[in-house]
Amino acid sequence: MEAFDLSLINWSRAQFALTAIYHWLFVPLTLGITFLIAIMETIYYKTGKEEWKKMTQFWMTVFGINFAIGVATGIILEFEFGTNWSYYSWFVGDIFGAPLAIEGIMAFFMESTFIAIMFFGWSKVSKGFHLTATWLTAVGSNLSALWILVANGWMQNPVGMQFNPETVRNEMVNFWDVLFNPNAINKFVHTLYSSYTLAALFVIGISAWYLLKNREHIFARKSIIVASIFGLIFSLATVYTGDESAREVAKSQPMKFAAMEGLYQGGTNAPLVAAGIMVNDNESDAIHNKKKLIASVEIPNMLSYMIYLKGGEFIPGIHDLVHGNEAFGIMSASEKIERGTVAKNTLNNYKLAVKEGNTAKADSLKAQFYDPAFTKDYFKYFGYSYFTNPHDLVPNVPLNFYSFHIMVALGFWFILLFTLTLWLSLKNRIADWRWLLRAAIISMPLAYVASEAGWLVAEFGRQPWIIQDLMPTMAAASNLNSNMVQATFWIFFLTFTVLLIAEIKIMTKQIKQGPNHGGH
């Protein structure tokens, strides 16, 4: 670990995190609002009422602003893969490249074609053709997300590949295993449903502002009804898929799960912590930087039920995962480090054999990587070889704990909000509930907080891994000049801030003009 420049790694991580967080400010709204627009246009298609056309066009303009400012920001992440994370990019090989290439092609052809018809085609194509283009824009943008999340799911739970020491790449051997990786599928649906929730909150928030200003009553109330139904369905679905996702994380990334729950000592009766405050636990030396929970609200024995749907099952804590727990078949981190070191030494011996021109030895060592027993017992732990201290395998527990709990708490608030806005809109009384309208406006940024918190859990919870168990983040970073990475970090920071201000200004101006302004 000492061989790696931690300052460089931290700046590279900060830069990637900044780019990803910024990129993710735009993506969820695009994913969700396109479906809301498609639903509104479908109502217009069915009823022929102009008010629905006007609503469709207004939310399309909002979508257009968000899309224009956000488009192509994801490409910067791909630049960073090649420059800052070159060893990672090489090591993942076609597993990462193939989904990203499919995403790029789909995004370009589907979105660029159908978005053009959405915006330019109102008087040029038939109503049915226009509606089809709107639905295909929504489907296309969501399918683009699938490929990104398949790639990300593989980082969390690498499957369907075979490591080739000759190319030093993980080569895809089963496309379907990669595509239907349970981690990727759970992540995909959870991300989509939470993005639909965010888009619904966005529409409700802006509509609430109109009602507070005593403007656009019919437009606002109908927008709130559509968004509340949509939001309620998908916020409930987000809870369900979040539960599924947590089950998958508990099995494939138990350390991340323990950090999310703030669970240091595992057990068969582990409680579910609904809320709590983390403070330093100075009395413990079993885990470095250990925290303890104070003022916590806990549901006894609930974690076993949540993960295994029955009581009495053992849920490992951070202590179990670092020190091992023989009684429950949990291998210690030291044992994993030893096994990973065997895999790394084999790879090193292969390298030396190739350099010496000893083909027979090189072939024999290469064959070991194709032996399922060697993969299962040693190569699976390859990434652990970069660590000497098992305590370095523990992610930032407070960050994961708080991010996870903030996300969950906000999720339940959104369900309540959707229920209230739907009920009051149907009763045509929502304009009288001023505090609820204000709460709906405040909930717009909270939706982004929840969405970004979800990503923090996904990415910080995985640390210190960039590819779970196979490659630590420190081994993935290119040996660049740390000052250069810092410089680009600040360039990004400035550029992104200017773009964000531009978006907010344009969006605010458009919203103030209202749905009767027209024009794209």
């Binding site: 303009t61 257009g64 224009a68 960073e80 070159s86 290119s478």
Partner: protein, 72 residues
């Protein structure tokens, strides 16, 4: 051939008329072009060079370069 040309011409005019009639869209396209310029002509050219290509002579050297790093 004529029908083909007609379809292409209709697509061309569809986009041309669409871009001409834009109001807010013109500002958004300007932002997109500025952003793409910064990304491809500033960041990519001056800052984001392919690290492996910079440190190797050709594609064949890349596996050995990565292997040296991973087994250090």
């Amino acid at each position: 051939m004529e029908a083909k040309a007609s379809i292409l011409s209709r697509i061309y005019h569809f986009y041309l008329d669409g871009f001409r009639s834009m109001t807010l869209g013109k500002t958004l396209w300007l932002i997109i072009f500025i952003k793409l310029f910064i990304m491809f002509f500033v960041l990519k050219l001056f800052f984001f060079k392919d690290h492996l290509s910079q440190n190797t002579q050709n594609e064949h050297e890349k596996p050995a370069f990565v292997l040296d790093h991973l087994t250090q």
